[in-house]
Amino acid sequence: LAKTTQPISMDSYEGQEVNITCSHNNIATNDYITWYQQFPSQGPRFIIQGYKTKVTNEVASLFIPADRKSSTLSLPRVSLSDTAVYYCLVGGAYSSASKIIFGSGTRLSIRP
């Protein structure tokens, strides 16, 4: 399973765009990149998933360069409610049998 490296913490202000980068140098050809968000005392929540280039949904964008050795989660115009821990995960491409392994995540703090 590919190991991921993320910043331990980040700070930003309301209304700003936040970009969290994750390194995954040993990503395999079949691996997808998935980001989860977790609030205190709650389970992680799926945010976005991608394989290459760019993926966008209603809450975030995911940018993946051609070599796929890193990815960037982009949160547009953050609010206080985006304060959470964000996890980058790699793997789990073909079936649920591919267990997902969490790293330590990035603790994002949004200030007024």
Partner: protein, 117 residues
């Protein structure tokens, strides 16, 4: 559409006791995974159940065991509790055979907060 339901939400046990945590997967899901999350850390994979069998296991001792029932619900049992077992225990459900895309990932419950004193 009900999500993942875990019970109880909070639990206090004494060292040496045994505990059983329960999980009902999201409607339509057939696979259940259990995670342990200590304060300030990421979730650690305990094991995964599919078709009532343990399919994968993380680096946890045999004191941690589980079961999956025909209705896909699952239990996590921990024997001989240690202070270090205090954590948030998360259950995640998913659907086997979703195809090549891990589309919407796992659906997690809100967890059971276990405190061992």
């Amino acid at each position: 559409d009900a999500g993942v339901t875990q019970s109880p939400t909070h639990l206090i046990k004494t060292r040496g006791q045994q505990v059983t945590l329960r999980c009902s997967p999201k409607s339509g899901h057939d696979t259940v995974s259990w995670y342990q999350q200590a304060l300030g850390q990421g979730p650690q994979f305990i094991f995964q159940y599919y078709e009532e069998e343990e399919r994968q296991r993380g680096n946890f001792p045999d004191r941690f065991s589980g079961h999956q029932f025909p209705n896909y619900s699952s239990e996590l049992n921990v024997n001989a509790l240690l202070l270090g077992d205090s954590a948030l225990y998360l259950c995640a459900s998913s659907l086997e055979g979703q195809g090549p895309r891990f589309n919407y990932g796992y659906t997690f419950g809100s967890g059971t907060r276990l405190t061992v004193v």
